[in-house]
Amino acid sequence: MTGFTGFALRRAVGAIVTLLAISVIVYVVFYATPGDVAQITCGPRCSPAQVHQVAQQLKLDDPLYVRYWHFLQGVVAGQDYSTGTSVERCSAPCLGLSYRSDRQVMQIILGKLPVSLSLVLGAMVLWLLLGVGTGVLSAWRRGRLTERALTGVTLAGVATPSFVIGLVLMIVVCGQLELLPFPEYVPLSADPEQWMWNLLLPWLTLALGEAAYFARLTRASMLETLAEDHIRTFRAYGVGERSIVGRHALRGALAPIIALNANDVGAMVGGAVLTETLFGLPGIGQELVHAVNVVDLPVVVGMVLVIGFFVVLANAVADVLYAVADRRVVLT
């Protein structure tokens, strides 16, 4: 694809600008949020003297811009830090250390990322299958009873809060029917089968509502494509409805699907906290909440940056996919 490197370059620059802006915002915001970090870190009963020591330890006395500058240095060049007994290296890109636990933010994130990714990507496969499938079916059977039924189902899906879905699923499937054990995260590397069984319910919880949206989207854009001239051509050449809907109409509907999918996947990496909490999956989202609650700035910044990174990445990927799908589009 011509000009791809140019595109990649522009996107990379854009992403960096965006992420920098985000990190600045988060820094400022959390500077403004109440909650004395040193006090929280040190514990409620810490004496002022102790709190002061901790503040020094965490370099909280430095002005905001200095702290941010150190953060940037860490990202670019990495940084050394003391565990008290030894000096450790946090190699670039170093997102700093957690105030609470003195662990490297990067380590924390890397610990959580597999969970979030397993959850979101797995769910994505599910909602694409369910959603697009339903959409195609109702576009094909449009005007018939099948479509009415499917429309009803999808609307219901859209209107049901996802935590209700998750709760019910768990009570029924695990509690009453005892079909599955109560989910618990098992790393893919450890045991792929257990990984899948344990993630099945979380995937469903995440996917059902999402699938409904995709079904609606797919149907809508397929109907639009069906109204276009080239479809008329293929009808006039005796091409069957199956191929017209399945090949030509669906192809035309891909663009919006790709776009929405990218957005949601990106956002969910950090946003699927309902599901994470409900099923006890130690993912990014849960960690972010916790970090916010204890004003653990480095972790919050790190998490938000990672989430932002995935959103940006997802959109870039979407554009590439789209350009591959439709050669008329020029990547910019």
Binding site: G14, V17, T18, L19, A21, I22, I25, V26, V29, A32, T33, P34, R142, G143, L155, A156, V158, A159, T160, P161, F163, V164, L167, I171, A220, S221, L223, E224, L226, A227, I231, R232, R235, E241, A255, P256, A259, N263, G266, A267, G270, G271, L288, V289, V292, V300, V304, I307, G308, V311, V312, N315, A318, D319, Y322, A323, R328, V329, L331, T332
Partner: protein, 328 residues
């Protein structure tokens, strides 16, 4: 984003054209589902407005505790069947507190609908202004604005919420604040749509004609562009309202919604979800209310889109090889 990712229908540019209101109403009337939905929405709005009246008829209010109506020894579960439903308390009472559920439900409608509409207004305002500016401004303005909306999109909602809550003083009216928060996090799409639509409109000859007759850019934007944007924007807004209701529920859920004792469906849900077994109706009532509202608004939104969008309205009638498509 590559432009093609945003597909927009600009009635002004399509052959059928539109005589605005009349035609729109006719097209809307052509859809039974949408009409039912509209009726439901109207009813909900009425309930929200008439909340004080309704509760007065019932003879209750949403904040008074009734310790005697709950079984303190059993975690405060309402005494009696159906969550203590009775002539005094039509839908029973809230576990632990014994507050009247009907009253809380109807007052909750106020928050949910009010905030959702307010948020939608904010989104439209921001989105349209940014969108038009991006479309009419030069490359750099355009770039800058799209970067900003990127940032907004990439920011987790909770961070934004906490941010605003931290900065805004507690005395600031919460519902307004919540509406602002929601509005602020989700205007990106409207901006994109507006931008794309404006770019399309800009090409139309009648805009060129207006320039030839000597009008200023501002005047042209107001007289020739804005009306043309109405259709796509309204369409999207109609679909945004239910989504915003969901977000409001979520924020209340998160505890950054409206303050107690003001009732909100989101709050009720968050405190009710643990009661799914002991006092199901406590969960089902707000969930049901939310379900119906979102459902109705979504259907209505679809209706509005079909009515405003000549493509789905007219084009589908030709050569699709299936019966009953004319209705689509």
């Amino acid at each position: 984003m590559s432009e093609a990712l945003v597909a927009v229908e600009v009635p002004g540019a399509s052959a059928s054209g539109t005589s605005g209101a009349r035609q729109f109403r006719r097209r809307l009337r052509a859809q039974r589902a949408a009409l039912v939905a509209a009726a439901v929405v109207a009813l909900l709005a009425l309930i929200a407005v008439a909340a004080p009246l309704l509760t007065a008829i019932e003879g209750q209010d949403p904040t008074t505790y009734h310790p005697s109506l709950v079984d303190s020894a059993r975690g405060g579960v309402p005494i009696g069947s159906f969550g203590g439903a009775s002539a005094e308390h039509w839908l029973g009472v809230e576990p632990q507190t014994g507050r009247d559920l009907f009253a809380r439900l109807v007052y909750g409608a106020r928050v949910s609908l009010g905030v959702a509409l307010g948020a939608t207004a904010v989104q439209i305002l921001l989105g349209v202004v940014v969108g038009i500016t991006a479309a009419l401004g030069n490359r750099w303005v355009d770039q800058l604005l799209s970067r900003i909306s990127d940032i907004i999109v990439a920011m987790p909602l909770m961070i934004m919420a906490l941010a605003l809550l931290a900065v805004v003083p507690g005395s600031f009216p919460r519902p307004v604040l919540v509406a602002l928060i929601i509005g602020f996090v989700a205007w990106g799409t409207i901006a994109k749509i507006t931008r794309a639509a404006t770019l399309t409109l800009k090409q139309l000859d009648y805009v060129a004609a207006a320039r030839l007759s000597g009008w200023s850019t501002l005047r042209i934007a107001r007289r020739e562009l804005l009306p043309g944007l109405a259709a796509p924007v309204i369409t999207y807004a109609a679909l945004m309202v239910p989504v915003n209701i969901g977000i409001e529920a979520s924020l209340s859920f998160l505890g950054v919604g409206v303050k107690p004792p003001t009732p909100s469906w989101g709050q009720m849900l968050s405190s009710a979800d643990v009661w799914y077994q002991a006092a199901p109706q406590y969960l089902l009532l707000p969930a049901g209310a939310l379900f119906v509202t979102v459902l109705a608004l979504t259907v209505l939104g679809d209706g509005v889109r079909t009515a405003l969008d000549p493509r789905t309205a007219s084009r589908l009638r030709v050569g699709t090889g299936h019966k009953g498509e004319a209705k689509a």
